[in-house]
Symmetry: C2
Subunit: 555 residues, 2 copies
């Protein structure tokens, strides 16, 4: 079938100029296919927000054309938005078995498992949607069963790498499909979308197997309990911990909800084989000789409510870390989490434990799942794309990735550093970016989903300076003050509050009287003036600027 006049368009709703909430779209003619739907965790400025997900409004507007969601792998920044998305647009979800297992946990939690459609694919599957044939290739990352995705369209071939590195000796023996990638490249790639997380780091990512060997050596040296904390989704690393425990005749207990959940999914689907009797319950740990025990737990990012943090402060039921226990932090710190992690390390030392930690790969207990510069160059070399869009990274990562692309032959001007929402249109093999679709952050707070800018603004203001309420009881019709205004504060205090209150009371009553006499009475005018004058007065007296909230009690 020949296609005329159909445009091929590519855009992102999340993942560009940020780490997190990845969501990319390929649009050809009447069909939109989505890749990934992740979330992002809020930083401290987003007070009380639980999650950030992409803005789906363009997709909702065009929902009749949305045909499928393909998920490359099961990390939160690729699947965390899926339930919220499916509640809006219920299309089939294509992913590998392990990825689907993790997505299904989420759909169950949101009670939409039954009405959703999930289709299992693997690296040899081919899915045809409209005029696109979609195929896959295996990549290595830090979670099992990861895919790159190939879109064969009448306009040309688009490749999306997913998250990847080239690990030629992976711990799970699932090697990357280098031959298949080479073949795709030989046939010609119009556009490559490749992830950029480690585009600033020179060299190759070390193999996951190096971590296994180092972990084993620590197990050999350990005289009492060994506690390992890592990402629950890093099944290869967990597998290596299981192996080290077996070799040193230790049983293993899992602590933390996500550790139990993910290991459950991995065992159920055959990604992790655990010998009979190997796993023990947390409450049985105390009955065993400490040199026979391994604990595998969540909390490697310093999360306050996770297992490792609670263990480090002696707040985990039934389990204690004691002197001479060995604690391994087998995960690198995600930027922003450093302080929480080091405070846990301090607490572990105070308990008398030995602690093996270190930033990044310096401790030998962690390697990144994202390819370094040479991995990225290898992908670019295999794919030989005409056009290149670096994805999955903050601006400086995309920028360095462009330089890498140019160093291996992508033509100047053929790399597009896009923003979320910026569309790359390709027609007659010419790519250009001239338009933008709606995009942004959608906040999730409890069950509410939406734009909560004004709520956040209030929270921020109050969190920094506190709040001062002025309650004014009056009869609106008679314009009559029924009692003296009342002042109530929260998160704001001053040494001389009682004097301050007296003066504020007087000033508020004066304003009301003046307005009344000038016949300019209106609640809006009154509110504004009280707000302004009291704020100024408080600032002069205390150097503080609480939020001032005048409240009319109409009686």
């Amino acid at each position: 079938m020949e296609s005329k006049g159909n445009m091929l368009s590519v855009f992102s709703l999340g993942g560009l100029n940020e780490i997190g909430k990845n969501m990319y779209a390929i649009e050809y003619g009447n069909d939109i296919v989505l890749i990934d739907c992740g979330n992002k965790f809020p930083d401290e400025s987003l007070l009380g927000i639980d999650l950030i997900i992409p803005d789906f409004s363009y997709l909702i507007e065009n929902q009749l054309r949305v045909r499928a969601l393909i998920v490359t792998h099961g990390h939160e920044d690729h699947i965390g938005g899926v339930p919220f998305f499916l509640k809006k647009i219920n299309v089939p979800v294509y992913a590998t078995r392990f990825t689907l297992g993790l997505i299904e946990l989420k759909l169950k939690e949101h009670r939409i498992l039954r009405e959703s459609e999930r289709i299992e694919v693997h690296s040899e599957s081919v899915v045809s949607i409209g005029e696109m044939d979609i195929s896959f290739f295996k990549v290595n990352h830090s979670i099992p069963d990861c895919l790159g995705v190939v879109f064969n369209t009448p306009e040309g071939t688009i490749v999306h790498t997913g998250d990847f590195k080239f690990d030629l000796t992976p711990a799970n023996n699932e090697r990357p499909d280098i031959h298949k990638m080479a073949e795709i490249g030989s046939k010609g790639v119009l556009l490559l979308l490749s992830e950029s997380t480690n585009a600033e780091r020179p060299g190759y990512t070390p193999s996951e197997q190096t971590v296994g060997k180092n972990i084993e050596q620590i197990f050999m040296r350990a005289k009492r309990k060994v506690i390992v904390s890592t990402f629950a989704s890093n099944v290869s690393r967990i597998h290596q911990v299981f192996n080290a425990a077996m070799k040193t005749n230790r049983k293993l207990a899992l602590l933390g909800r996500s550790m139990v959940n993910v290991v459950g999914v991995a065992m159920e689907h055959g990604y992790l084989t655990v010998p009979e009797g190997m796993l023990i319950n947390a409450r049985d740990i105390n009955d065993m000789p400490p040199e026979k025990v391994t604990i595998l737990c969540t909390g490697s990012q310093g999360e306050t409510m996770a297992a490792l943090s609670r263990l480090s402060t002696g707040n985990f039921r039934d389990v204690e870390i004691l002197s001479e226990d060995m604690v391994i932090l087998a995960a690198g710190p995600i930027p922003g989490n450093e302080r929480n992690i080091t405070s846990i390390i301090d607490n572990l030392y105070k308990l008398g434990a030995h602690v093996i930690y270190g930033s990044g790969s310096s401790s030998g207990m962690h390697v990144s799942g994202h390819g370094y510069q040479e991995d990225l160059r290898l992908m670019l070399t295999l794919m030989k794309p005409k056009y290149f869009v670096p994805i999955h990274g903050e601006y400086r990562m995309l920028y360095h990735h462009r330089m890498l692309a140019e160093s291996v032959g992508v033509e100047d001007g053929h790399t597009f550093i896009l923003k979320n929402g910026e569309v790359l249109d390709i027609e007659h093999s010419i790519a250009k970016s001239t338009r933008t679709i709606p995009n942004g952050n959608t906040y999730v707070d409890g069950v509410d989903v939406g734009n909560m800018e004004f709520v956040l603004r209030d929270r921020k203001k109050i969190s920094e300076e506190g709040m001062l309420m002025i309650i004014i009881p009056m009869n609106k019709q008679e314009e009559k003050l029924l009692a003296e205004p009342e002042f109530i504060s929260r998160g704001f205090v001053d040494q001389n509050f009682s004097e301050l209150r007296k003066e504020m009371k007087q000033r508020t009553m004066d304003i009301i009287n003046e307005l009344h006499e000038a016949n300019r009475y209106s609640w809006n005018v009154m509110k504004k003036q009280i707000k302004r004058e009291i704020a100024q007065f408080v600032k002069e007296q205390t150097r503080k600027e609480p939020m001032i909230v005048p409240i009319l009690m109409d009686i």
Copy 2:
């Protein structure tokens, strides 16, 4: 003079198990001498707090015995608390000329310069206080004119290192007093207090001169403006930037208040010599060819209001960063600041600038001012102390410092890892720690100084969940509701707020009526019950938990 029965005591009011607010005390008989009085910057959990300083209450109680404050160097974590301290206890401050210059800036700001007593010392000074003779030795750090302090007491010698590294080729030619340190060690040191910041890092700290050479090379390559951001107090580094600018025929502009202030102090006291005509004003930059301009600015830690951040977003009056400008971040990130710094780097790239950055020394643009493990071992070896107290560090740093001490011969059990407020008493050459004095964090918020735990608790709660006020207008004596309760929220919102409000109104009135009929009317009972029931109802309906504040308007 022989002393009998006088005890020698050492304790910290800040700096142990933390980075910041350093304050140490040596107490002998009736005399207390203090070393440093720093501040610490609050983390995100301390909403709206400006500064943290030590709790001075033990010193205030014993203020007649407090004789002097010695300041080792001019960094904020050693001088930031000085004005607050002197306002409570006005004792003489001993420090070198440069350190005094920085302290004086603070005293002026707090308007207590005139009534304070400042005594300039140098490395050859001797100060006698009671039965203690106090002398000094030069150390290298990342600010000029740093001292270690030696207390000769009848009980023995105590050495406090200040912050230090051994830089044998310092940029300012002020070499460390190694001979003097050796001599002190030879005579016998009873107790060493040594800083621990880099006790986890193997090897020696590289010399400051290595940075100078690297900066010079970047200047040679630069084709347009060069913008260097570093700590204002790092006069050696600033000196090297001046040198590189001179060698490449560039003028230099200073941006940022602390850069202008500190360079002013350094020039005034002869720590920095600047050729006539070298310094230019910010507003003259645009009149000069870009290849003739260097900008030295604050903001290397990503501070939102500092010069570099404003430059990176195009918000600095009169100065712009343009394509092909070269920006050097000549400072390592202090843990916790990484995210702000990388977002500035992203913005600089977006402006088209070249950016030289990198964590720690990887970029060659920064070396630490704190000695690594071999520096620390050298100090321990020179001093050969009988007892050792690692100071200035979080627990894991103190822990590693103890291991270093033991590796060079300090006896097992002779190292004391203390907490702030824990006192080490030494009598007849036997050291033991059995008592604790009052200690803790004092918060500074505007002009208020004190313990603000309950204010912070309120701010935190509101910042995460918002706040819901219930205003109940009633006549207390007649127990009569005068109008319907009013509901006002800030930082809390719900899709179905109007329905929620209707139901809450009804429930609140029901509670009041029931209590009235049961003759159990009291505002306290009513408040509690309304709070409980409305909180529960809101949580059920919205999954959110705003702070509920019932307010009685007695009319």
